[in-house]
């Protein structure tokens, strides 16, 4: 990791670590812990999406589908077949990886609008499967009786325990992602984003890298889905529809696509917007998301992180990026 990132990492890590204690001091916001658990789960999805969109320059409107594949695999195996959740989770991840590979190999040959449409279509198909396979998924009315999580026989029961578990995993994923970015693989991804032909001519197997990062994003989303399942212990297809895929894209864009910190920031912010501040105006939710998406795409394509990084003017710079050398 670069020095700046190491600093940010430490500060964010400490903030996240003391957050439950802080929240406990202030009355009336104790449920913020719960919001942050969701934010952590979504962060896993968005980290993968940030690598794919911000770094490799490929769009996916199917992240909710991979999130759902992980969630339903965990749900079905544990609730219907009494599997241990920790065994079901890797099965979900492997399944998501396999599906992502099968779809990704042909889809990532497409560009721009075509890729967006293909991933969108795929996401909707998966959502239809979740709704139609009633025998397995419970269909639109949902699936109940999903067990919670236990570590070595010790049940994770309190919100605070869940909080530290989820954010611990987020930090591991973040570390892994940073390592990838600041390496030969990360350089290859950024090169693909900027000049795909030149990258290929310099020896980067561009097709393979695009698929790899797509699969990685799918695996992160599936793992997030598994944790989501065991946390809420209830599943319904509406948590994995197109709107959720768009929401994930929005989270990544609001914070700043080309920065993992941006993805994290955007995810936390929008989870609060969705789970907390918009609850009162539930009917306006879709409209507000649309408006935010439009404003960000038009006026702040580099996301909030670019404003934080160089002041308001920085938002305009098209080359703002994390740090300097490699």
């Amino acid at each position: 990791m670069r020095t700046t990132d190491r600093w940010i990492f430490t500060v964010v890590f400490l903030l996240i670590a003391v957050f439950p204690w802080l929240v406990g001091r202030i009355s009336g916001i104790s449920h913020y812990i719960e919001v942050m658990i969701f934010a952590g789960i979504f962060s896993l999805v968005c980290l993968g999406l940030s690598l794919l969109m911000g770094y490799a320059g490929q769009i996916s409107l199917a992240q909710a589908a991979f999130f759902g594949i992980g969630a339903y695999t965990s749900g079905i195996l544990t609730a219907r077949f009494d599997w241990n959740p920790w065994l079901a989770m890797p099965v979900g991840a492997v399944l998501a990886a396999a599906v992502a590979w099968i779809v990704g190999v042909p889809a990532l040959r497409l560009r721009g609008h075509y890729l967006a449409m293909a991933t969108l279509g795929f996401g909707v198909i998966v959502h239809i499967v979740f709704s139609e396979e009633v025998e397995w998924t419970g269909g639109p009315s949902g699936m109940v009786d999903i067990p919670g999580l236990a570590i070595a026989g010790w049940r994770i029961s309190s919100e605070v325990q869940w909080y530290y578990l989820i954010w611990g995993i987020v930090f591991l994923a973040l570390l892994f992602s940073f390592h990838i970015l600041h390496s030969r693989v990360g350089r290859a991804l950024r090169a693909i984003h900027e000049e795909e032909i030149a990258a290929e001519a310099m020896g980067v197997p561009t097709a393979r890298y695009k698929v790899q990062i797509f699969v990685f994003g799918a695996v992160l989303a599936a793992i997030a889905g598994s944790f989501y399942t065991h946390y809420v212990t209830f599943l319904s297809p509406s948590s994995f529809n197109l709107m959720w895929s768009i929401r994930f894209v929005l989270m990544v864009m609001v914070g700043g696509m080309q920065s993992l910190w941006g993805a994290l920031l955007g995810t936390v912010l929008l989870t609060f917007v969705g789970n907390e501040w918009l609850q009162v105006f539930a009917d306006f939710e879709v409209l507000v998301y649309g408006a935010i998406l439009l404003v960000v795409a038009l006026f702040l394509p580099q996301g909030l992180i670019s404003v934080l990084r160089r002041g308001p003017g920085g938002a305009r710079s098209s080359v703002s990026r994390l740090g300097g050398e490699g």
Binding site: R184, G186, A188, R190, A191, A198, E200, V204, T206, F216
Partner: protein, 261 residues
């Protein structure tokens, strides 16, 4: 098994009847040519002669409609560009194609891609082998920047360099792939006189390290100064080939160039 011994003067690149057509347009109409190893080979011709198309074919960005390309005796047409890069052909682009928001150093480091191996897991989990490899990439990239004289700029964003330096950086990136053959597409385009002279020296220096250079260039002074052999194309066809002196006096070549004006 570095490089199997080859007889001196053997050709490193052979073009056999290369044809390339887009729809109904024939950009290359059957090019035959052999490039001996270790020389500076220039390819010249008026605009639209098919020089860049030829480069695209050799580097695998285009697949020739007909004909075969042999690199060190083995056929390479139909291979993916990254495979060809791995075999030892690298290139620069007529319109600079740097990774503009990456630093100068990172651009050259990317050139090391095909000579290094740490994959997804190795980098994500920072295996010890990956770390030493990364240090190595760093060191080698700096050495190549030193070679072309861009060491001072290594931390700048590539897109912020003046055009002349960007062209040089592209050469450094190409060299970082450790090619046996490097294709330079109009390296002097947009360069001033001093820069062009320095470029000539650099190209000769590259050739002295044993790398064969193929050069598409409009600057005739540069071409005549440094080339060992020149191939002239005209509307996708072979027009002439020979030493600079020979080409200078070739009536067909003079005709083609005068005809353009």
């Amino acid at each position: 098994m570095e490089h199997p011994a080859r007889q001196p003067g053997a050709s490193i690149l052979e073009l056999n009847d290369i044809q390339m057509s887009f729809g109904g347009v024939h950009a290359l109409k059957g090019i035959n040519h052999a490039v001996p190893e270790g020389i500076i080979q220039a390819v010249i011709g008026p605009n639209g002669a098919g020089k860049t198309t030829l480069f695209h074919c050799i580097s695998g960005l285009l697949n020739p409609t007909e004909g075969s390309i042999l690199f060190r005796g083995a056929e390479i047409n139909g291979l993916a560009p990254h495979r060809i890069a791995h075999l030892g052909i690298s290139r620069t682009f007529q319109h600079v194609a740097l990774f503009k928001s990456m630093t100068v150093l990172e651009n050259v480091m990317l050139g090391r891609h095909s000579r290094t191996r740490s994959g997804f897991w190795a980098t994500g989990l920072r295996f010890p082998g990956m770390r030493s490899e990364e240090r190595n990439i760093h060191k080698k990239a700096e050495a190549f920047l030193d070679l072309v004289g861009l060491a001072d700029a290594s931390r700048l964003q590539a897109g912020t360099l003046p055009l002349g330096k960007q062209k040089i950086l592209e050469i450094a990136r190409a060299l970082a792939t450790e090619p046996r053959l490097v294709l330079l597409d109009e390296p002097a385009g947009g360069l001033n006189m001093t820069e062009t002279e320095e470029l000539g020296v650099l190209i000769q220096k590259i050739c002295q390290t044993g790398i064969t250079v193929v050069l598409v260039e409009h600057d005739m002074n540069l071409v005549m100064d440094i080339s060992d052999q020149i191939l002239v194309l005209h509307y996708g066809q072979y027009l002439a080939s020979g030493t600079p002196q020979h080409i200078k006096d070739d009536p067909a070549v003079i005709e083609a160039y005068l005809g353009e004006n």
